[in-house]
């Protein structure tokens, strides 16, 4: 396809200074990662159908999958498909093995292990999607909602979950001791020289 827009979109990840992204993680496509974000090894962030912008202070654990993929009934090469940007806010936690395709995620959310968030869900802030819960609806999840249980019942909690600052600090100190990190690239496009 000789679409000039697609030729100009950068295909490499832009990792802000202060973020810790392990080399063993898979970051494909146009992905922007904010400061103080930790991406564990074996995490996968795949921007197929559009760019992904990840904010600051997020924690993306092993085998988590954040994917901006084409909706199932649309072929990748068909005309008229605009690349939609996936935005992820600050202080979110993507626990081990979760799958997130939600296009818009706010701040302070927690997606627990093996949870599955569909493409048409919009998480506001303070939401907790419990372990193994699948949320495939087409809705805006209100603030401070907890989805839990095998039937995905919901309740509203009184306060948002605490940001994992202690854990983030610990990981930013320890992970570089055991893993190589991906080079940070400033958002303007010029790579840092070591």
């Amino acid at each position: 396809m000789t679409d000039p827009k697609q030729m100009m979109a950068p295909k490499s990840a832009k990792i802000a200074a202060g973020a810790v992204v392990c080399v063993e993680s898979e970051v494909r496509g146009d992905v922007t990662i904010g400061a103080r974000t930790v991406v564990h090894p074996k995490a996968r962030i795949i921007a197929e159908a559009g760019p992904i912008i990840i904010g600051d202070g997020n924690l993306i654990e092993e085998q988590a999958l954040i994917i901006n993929s084409y909706p199932e009934n649309i072929m990748p090469d068909s005309e008229g498909v605009e690349p939609k940007t996936m935005t992820i806010g600050t202080n979110n936690v993507f626990e081990v093995g979760c799958v997130s395709q939600a296009l818009k995620i706010g701040d302070n959310n927690v997606i627990e292990s093996k949870a599955d968030v569909g493409r048409n869900v919009i998480l506001t802030s303070g939401c907790i999607i419990g372990a193994c819960c699948q949320v495939n609806t087409c809705e805006v999840v209100p603030e401070n909602t907890v989805v839990y249980g095998s039937n995905c019942i919901r309740r509203v909690q009184s306060e948002k979950p605490q940001p994992q600052t202690l854990q983030l600090d610990f990981l930013m100190k320890i992970l570089p001791n055991y893993h190589h990190l991906k080079k940070t690239v400033k958002a303007s496009g010029t790579p840092l020289r070591n």
């Binding site: 839990y148 249980g149 009184s158 979950p161």
Partner: protein
């Protein structure tokens, strides 16, 4: 296929007071009566109480006083998970110098599953890690205890009158059950002859307490009832604030309708029970006393004594056509037992399957054989094969009668026969 090993595929029949069909893994074998027993034909007795989260053993008397609740652990009122205590640092003014603040630890209860916290209901953070949490008291507690005392006294008085009448008429002894009006049910009393009825004693009074008369005033009906709020029909229901029926009924004292009144309750204790054969009064299953141990002191389960039949594979079953279905019999140690399989004529609810069994292979403790299946009914959902299995059983536990020569005679094997049903599933199209 793992579905062939599902427990409900092979069912054994237990001939007790009722005819019960259950898989072998759920049955017990009384080796003194040499019969299978199911959970319904044994008597259950409470061994010990323990808390499932802190695994603390509690004597029965203490459990009765605490209403079978643990003293340390709490249940989440929202999802019934165990609550954990979390600590935060809050600034608090020093007692001697109000201007300076120091960090003090404050504790609150939180649920890891549904993220409920004790702050949701308005319970203040406590400064002690454990023991600071109180359950709200039932507003009707006094009236209830007074009513219970009154009825205890009434029952005691009636029992005395009846006993006096019994002696006067000089009749045969009436069964013990009739003299206790508000005591245990008669069935439970009958099954424990001679055993003291301790922790389950209902409302029996102690002797010598009938001196003071207790009077109660009857409940009074009120004419005026609180009116419903005006927007009762028009206000939209906010689902997160309404409690579910299950949450409500777990707190029968209050049954709150609003989620902001759901207080945590102490965790319910679990109990270890021992099972006893009703005919010979021997123990079939007796667990260890320690709550952390899962072993048994006495464990007479059926799988260790009765050979187990397993379906090896299910062929395509067609109406009125013969199929061969392989099955195997797993014996228990010690090996060397003889097994006979014969067909059994049953009532018409099962499929009559005249078959002949052929031993296909033998291997250590396993025998494989074929069952010829001819489904009789066309549209039935489940093809069931029933047969009778006989095996010999050496009772190593029974006392060996000393023979006259003085030598030890080996225990005589007795032949036990069991009625087994195999569920082979639906007919193939």
């Amino acid at each position: 296929m793992a579905s062939l090993l599902q427990p409900d595929r092979v069912i054994y029949l237990v001939r007790g007071e009722k005819r019960i069909r259950a898989p072998l893994s759920q049955l017990y074998f009384c080796r003194y009566c040499s019969e299978l027993r199911s959970l319904e034909c044994v008597s259950h007795e409470v061994d010990s109480h323990y808390c499932p989260s802190c695994l603390e053993n509690m004597p029965s008397a203490e459990a009765k006083v605490k209403k079978n609740r643990c003293a340390n652990c709490f249940d989440c009122p929202c999802c019934m998970h165990t609550l954990s205590t979390r600590a935060t640092n809050i600034p608090a003014p020093l007692p001697d110098d109000p201007t300076k603040t120091t960090m003090k630890k404050a504790y609150y209860l939180a649920c890891g599953f549904c993220r409920w916290t004790s702050r949701d209901v308005g319970m203040a953070d406590k400064s002690v890690a454990s023991g600071g949490w109180q359950e709200p008291e039932n507003p009707h507690a006094q009236r209830i205890s007074k009513l219970i005392e009154y009825y205890q006294q009434l029952a005691h008085r009636e029992k005395q009158e009846r006993d006096r009448k019994k002696l006067a008429r000089r009749r045969q002894c009436m069964p013990l059950a009739f003299s206790e009006k508000y005591g245990l049910g008669t069935r439970l009393q009958r099954q424990r002859p001679g055993a003291p009825i301790s922790a389950l004693a209902g409302l029996s009074l102690k002797e010598g307490e009938d001196k003071k008369e207790i009077t109660i005033e009857p409940a009074q009906a009120l004419d005026e009832v609180e009116p419903l709020p005006e927007d009762c029909y028009t206000r939209p229901v906010s689902l997160p604030e309404v409690t579910t029926l299950r949450q409500r009924l777990l707190q029968p004292d209050f049954q709150p309708a609003g989620a902001s009144q759901l207080h945590p309750r102490h965790k319910h204790l679990l109990m270890k029970r021992s099972l006893r054969c009703r005919k010979c009064e021997h123990n079939l299953s007796k667990p260890e006393f320690n709550p952390t141990s899962i072993k048994f002191k006495i464990q007479l389960v059926a799988v260790s004594y009765i050979p187990e039949v397993r379906i090896m594979s299910i062929p395509n079953l067609r109406h009125m056509k013969v199929s061969l279905s392989p099955a195997s019999v797993f014996g228990t140690a010690p090996a060397a037992l003889g097994v006979n399989v014969a067909s059994e004529l049953e009532d018409s609810s099962h499929h009559l399957c005249p078959f002949c069994s052929i031993v296909a292979f033998r291997k250590s403790n396993k025998i494989g054989f074929f069952i010829k299946v001819i489904p009789q009914k066309e549209e039935d959902a489940d093809v069931t094969v029933t047969f009778r299995m006989r095996h010999d059983f050496r009772n190593l536990a029974a006392p060996i009668r000393a023979s006259e020569e003085g030598g030890d005679a080996p225990p005589e094997p007795i032949w036990l026969s069991h009625h087994v049903e195999l569920r082979l599933g639906p007919l193939a199209a």
